[in-house]
Amino acid sequence: MSAGAKKQLRDFRAPDEIGAESRAWDVVRSAYLERERHVARRPTWRLAVAPALAIIVAALVLSPAGASVRRLINHALGEKHAAPALFALPSSGRLLVSGADGAWTAAADGSVRRLGAWSQASWSPHGLYVAVASGDQLAAVDPRGTVRWRLARSAVSDPRWYSPSGYRVAYLSVGTLRVVADDGTGDHPLATGVAHVAPAWRPGAALGPFELAYVTARGRVVVRNGDTGRILWSTAPGPRPFELTWSADGRRLLVLSRHQARTYSAGGALTSRITLPGAASDGALSPDGRELALVVGGREVVVGRGGSFHEVLPGAGVKAVSWSPDGRWLLVSWPAANQWVFVRVAGTPRIEAVSRISQQFSSGGAALAFPVLDGWCCTAEGSAG
């Protein structure tokens, strides 16, 4: 056996190692910080060091050069003055979240309701039903959690309703894109070799055409008719998208990848390509389709239009964003701080934070887990976010 061959293996280098390491560290660090918050026992030496550390931190923060340090500390572990519970939403509508302890809704008055042991959920366009998925089950439930129909398919994920009528539901199942009618009938495969990215229905008339965008395993974006299967258009393989969103009027499709936002016309023409201000991990188009909110580098939330972005919330470990139905607020999910932060982006800037989110969406049985934001219902065309 050749020593040369072994050496080549030892010297092997994968693509973009530094970038991958940096992105992964952001995620791993956030998970670690979140875990640390759940560890009750603290070593005694930390208690002994705490007063000294407090003096050092105070000195740094009070010094003229400490402004950036103060900002960092303010946002390292969440917003100060966070409410201890979700007493009310700052805007109208209802939230849908899901996670290890099931799917939940939160009403405008802050009351929460568990829909059942579902790991993913999606509002119907007018919030009358919720498509839920878990393991090998897809179901439609009403907002009380009553199951209206149920379907068994392998490894179901990412259900999405057609807007505005909700007459179809698209979902993924082991690399296959499938479509089912809103009463649970007519389930059929639409495409195989599909990437694990939620599909997006193009908003249209109540009775269609039911046009559906999805991402292939090779990174192409394809738009098909959801009933006939006919391919309407597709892109060349490009940067791997992690999110697809149609504008509310159905005239533009936003394709988000880590470093790039592309928009396409309804006919498939590339209309813009924007380089993002960092590695994006989540993004949401405002209900009017004019502004884009992004989580960048796991460290900040930015909002912008036409390639010009401004920071609305810095914070180590911020995870996801969702627009309020009226487009005036952004809800930022911040697992590392166990907080939700509502940021008013229209009119006078304002921030309202709520802490102990994991505890509020827990039935007490499972270990605490921070829930995933599934949408803030509802705009005229469908749930936002």
């Binding site: 056996m1 050749s2 040369g4 061959a5 072994k6 080549q8 293996l9 030892r10 010297d11 092997f12 280098r13 994968a14 693509p15 973009d16 190692e17 991958a20 390491e21 940096s22 992105r23 992964a24 560290w25 995620v27 791993v28 660090r29 998970a31 670690y32 910080l33 875990r35 640390e36 560890v39 603290r42 070593p43 930390r46 082991v174 690399g175 296959t176 495409a191 195989t192 070799g193 292939t216 395993a217 090779r218 990174g219 192409r220 391919i231 393989p237 791997r240």
Partner: protein, 200 residues
């Protein structure tokens, strides 16, 4: 990179220099870093991450040949490791423990991708541009191993990237020791042939 990350890098640079030989302390053991991370030290966690990430990512990439998937696999492995850190038996080595998670997840991913390909319809995607590694002979390594199954590639990655012993590989992948040896031989033969072709 966080300030803690900068200090980790600075430490490793100092060790390699003249100044470093006089001043630098030996790197902390992985057991000490795990203890520190369990006690709440983010710096220790970062040191642990920086020490093991590159090889975990390379191993995943060598098995799946897809850098986005490799990044996800290595990242998920670290997240799984953090979740289980307080149950980790500190008499064991962290690297092999992490490597086992990476290898098994990468094999599962590669198998799932193969299954998807087999069921793909006529309108399947054209091949995308290959992920290009950057090391001097990395492209040749990748090409030489492309003909092997993910399971074969996992054996190679575990042995020569993660430096497992054949016995450790056999236990990790639940394979007979002889199978591990034959897969190692076949992988090295493929690579050697490719390198000879290059030299001509």
């Amino acid at each position: 990179m966080s300030p803690a990350g900068e200090s980790v890098r600075a430490e490793s640079l100092a060790v390699s220099g003249e100044l470093g030989r006089r001043r630098a302390r030996p790197p902390r053991s992985e057991q000490a870093l795990i203890r520190g991370a369990l006690a709440g030290s983010e710096a220790d966690l970062e040191a642990l991450f920086r020490r093991f990430w590159p090889r975990a990512y390379r191993a995943a990439f060598l098995i799946v040949h897809d850098h986005a998937a490799a990044e996800d696999i290595a990242q998920e492995a670290f997240l799984a490791a953090i979740r289980r850190l307080d149950r980790f038996d500190r008499r064991r080595r962290f690297g092999p423990w992490l490597g086992a998670i990476v290898a098994n997840r990468a094999i599962d991913w590669a198998r799932a991708r193969s299954a998807r390909r087999e069921t793909a319809d006529g309108g399947a995607d054209p091949p995308s541009p290959p992920d290009t590694p950057v090391g001097r002979y990395s492209q040749e390594v990748l090409a030489a191993l492309a003909a092997l199954t993910p399971e074969h590639r996992a054996v190679i990655a575990l042995r020569y990237l993660l430096e497992y012993s054949p016995g450790e590989i056999a236990r990790t992948l639940e394979l007979p020791r002889g199978t591990v040896n034959s897969r190692l031989r076949r992988g090295l033969d493929a690579l050697e042939t490719r390198l000879k072709e290059m030299d001509r």
